[in-house]
Amino acid sequence: MSVISVNDVSHQFGATRALSRVAFDIAPGEQVALIGASGSGKTTLLRLLGLQQKPSSGQILVLGCDLQSAKSEELRSTRARVGMLPQDLGLVANLRVIQNVVLGRSGRRNLITTVRDLLWPRKADREEIFQILARMGVAAKMYDRTDSLSGGQQQRVALSRTLYQGAEILLADEPLSAVDPARARDVLKLLTGLSNEQGSTLVVSLHQVALAREFFPRVIGLKAGEVVFDGQPDDAQLSSLYDL
C-alpha cells in the first residue's frame, strides 16, 4: 500500500508543459530525493503532491485522497497530515518562534482557535512545543522573534512546525538552497533522522546528486518534466544524473 500514488500525471502552465506523464508510487516511511535542474518540474511536482494544485491530467492519490474528486473536508483533513517545508521556510518573521510553530496545526483548528493559539496558547500546547523545540535544539529561542534567529535555527523552527503538525508525509522544497556545503549534510541528516524516528515519508527536492545518493535510498530524476530515473543510482548511472 503506497502513501503517494502518481498515475500518468501531466501538468501545464499555459503553453508550457511542466510535467509530462509522470508515474510512481511511494511507500509509507520511504525517503525519496527528487533531483533535476531548475525548471525540470520538481517544485510543480511537490505542489501537486501537497494537494495544492490539480494536475492538468492523470491522477494523484495522497494518503488515499484524490484531489480530483475529494470534498473540501476530506481535502482539509488530508492536507493536515502533509507537511510542507518551502524553500524560504514560510515563517512569519515578526512572530515569536512558538507562534510560528503553533500555526502548524491550523488544519485541525477553526478560525477562533487559531487566533486563541496565536495569542494565548494553552499550557498543554506550550509544553508540547517546548519538547519539540528541545529535540530540535532551539528550545531557548521559543519566545524570541523568529527573525532574530540564524538561518539554521529558522530551518529547525520550520521543521518543528511540521513535527507539531504531526505530518505523516514531509515535502521539502530545496532545503539546501540557502545552506553552505558544510551544513548541507547536517540538514539532510536531520531530515532523514526525523523521518526514521517518526516513520514518516520524506520527499525532498535537491540539486546535489552526490548528497541525494548518499542520504536517500531512492532517487527520482526529472528532466524537462519527465521522470528519467527512478531507483538507487549505481556508480555507472551517477554521471548521467549529473547531466540532469
Partner: protein, 597 residues
Amino acid sequence: MKPQAWRMWLGRRWLLVLTALIFAWCVGRLGTQVLSHTPGSDPFAASFRFFGAAFSPAFSDQNPSLPADATPFLSRLGSDLLRTLRYALIATSMAIPAGLVLGFLASEQWWPTHRSRKLFNLIRWPVRIFLSLIRSIHELIWAIFFLSAFGDFPLTACLALALPFAGTLAKVFSEIMDEQGRSARLVITASGGSGAQGFLGAILPAALPDMITYSLYRFECALRSSAVLGFIGIETVGLSILRSFESTYYGEVWTALYILIITILLIEGSGFFIRKRLTQGKPRRKEVGDDFTEEDLRKTAPRDYLLRFAGVAWVVVIVSAYQFGERLIQPMPGAQQAERLSRFLTKITPDPIAPEKSVSSWAEREAAWQDGAGELGTWVADLWEKPGAEALANTVAMSVAAIILAGALAMILAPWALRTLATRTPLGMVSAGGGVHTAVGFLVRGLFVVTRAVPEYLYAFLLVGLMGPSAWPLVFALALHNVGILGRLWGEVVENQPPGNARAVIQVGGGRLQAFYSSLAPTALNRFLLFFFYRWESCMREATVLGMLGFSSLGYYISIQKSFRNYDDILFFSLLGASMIVVGDLVSDALRSKLRG
C-alpha cells in the same frame, strides 16, 4: 541638426525635455504674473511685517480692544489645539476599523485559492472603485456636504475627515497586505488551514507593523486636515490663524504656526520611535542558563513594555477624546433632522432632476427624475463647457506645475540631506572636512521636516495674503509642502539602496554630488518616479480645493457655488477633480505593477 543627431541628443534626456514642455504648458495656462497686488498697496511692507513677526511670536492678545474678561490668547489657542487634536483622533479612530474592513475586502490575500479569482474580483473591484471615490473627494468638500446634511456639531467634522481617510487607509492597507510574501500563508493552507486562517496567521501579523506606522502617519495628516477645517468655519487652529491673519496680528499667527509645527513634529517623532521598535523587536535581555523550563522562558521572554504602554496610552487618549469636550452630537428632533437631510438631498440632486419643493417625498423625487432625466446630459454639458473644462485644466496645470517645482527642488536638495552622503564618511569612505556637510545635512533635513509639517492650505492662505490672488501662491504652497515629503521619501529610497557604483565615483576622486547625480539617483529613478506620481495625485486633490482661495480653478467654482448652496454643482466639480485622481491612480497602479515585474 539632422533628425538622427536630434534623436541621439534627445536620448535619455527625453524625460527632462518632456517635463520642461509640460511645465511651459502650465505657465502658459496659469499666466506669468506671480504677484498681483491692488494698485497703491505696498506688498513688501506687508511681507516684511509678516516675516518679521516670526521672530517675535505673541504670547498674549495683540488686539488692544478686547474686553478685560476675554479668554487670554494662549488659553484660547490651547483649547483650539485640543479641539484640533480631538477631531483628528476621533476621525482616525473611525477611519482605521473602516479601512481595515474595506482594505481586507480590497485585498486578494484572503482568497482561498487562485481559482476563485473571478468570483472574488466581483467583491474586490466595486470596493476599490468605492475607495477611489471617497478618498478622491477632499475632506473640505465632505465637510461642506456634511455640515449641510447633518448640522454643525463636532461629529460632522470628524466624519468629514474619517471618510476620505478610511478610503486612503483601506487602499494602503490592501496594498501592504498584497505585498506580503505568500509562503507562510501557503504553508498554513497546505497543512489544511483555510484562506482566512492563512490571512490571520501569516499575512496580518506580517503586515501589522507597516499598518500601524501608516496609521500613525495618517493621524499626523488628520491633524493637518483638522486644522484646515478651520478655514470653512469649524473651530480648530486653522480658524484662529485665519482670524489673526485677517486682523494682521501676525505675532499670533506665528505662535499658532509654531505650536502646530511642534505638535506635528512630536507625532512624527513618536511614529518614528514606534516604527523602529516594531520592526526591530526587542532582544532578549535575561538569559535562562542551561537548565530551563518552558515557564522560565515564558517569564523571561522579551517584552516591549514601552510599546505596550504606548498602545494603552493611545487607547486612553482616544477614549478620552470621545468622552471629554463638547458633545459630539447635538440632539435634534427626528422630524427636524429628516427635514434637513431632505433639503440637502434636494440641493445635491442635479438641477434638472431635483424636485421643486426642497422637502419632498420619494414619490416626488421619482417623478422629478422621470420629468428631467432627459435634460441631465445638457446640464452636464453646460457645466463642462462653462466653466468645468477650463477649471479642470487650470487645476491640473496648478498641480502639475507644483509637483514639477517640488520635484526639481527636492532633486537639488536631496544630496545635501542624505545621511549616507552628508557626513564625514560619505558612503562609508574616508573624506576630508565633512563637518560642513554634516551641518548642512542636518539643516536641510530640518527644512524638509518643517515644510511638510504645515498643511498646503495654510501655506496657500498665507501666500495669497502676501502675494495677492493668483495661481502662483497656490502652486508655491503645494510645492513647498511637497518638497519636504519628496525630499524625505527620495532620501529614504537612496539611503536604503546599496551604494554600488557611487562608491567607485568617490574612489576615483569624484565628489558627493557627482556620486549622487551620476550613480545613486539614476539607480533609484524608477522609485523616484513612483513617489513623484503618488505626490502628484495628492497635489491634484489639494489643488481642487485650493482654488477656494481665489483662482479660476475647480475650487474657485466650488467656493462660489457654496455661497449659493448649489451642492449639485459642487458635486459635479468635485467629481471632475476626482476623475483626474482616479486616472492618476490607475497610471500609478500600472507603474507600480510594472516596477514590481
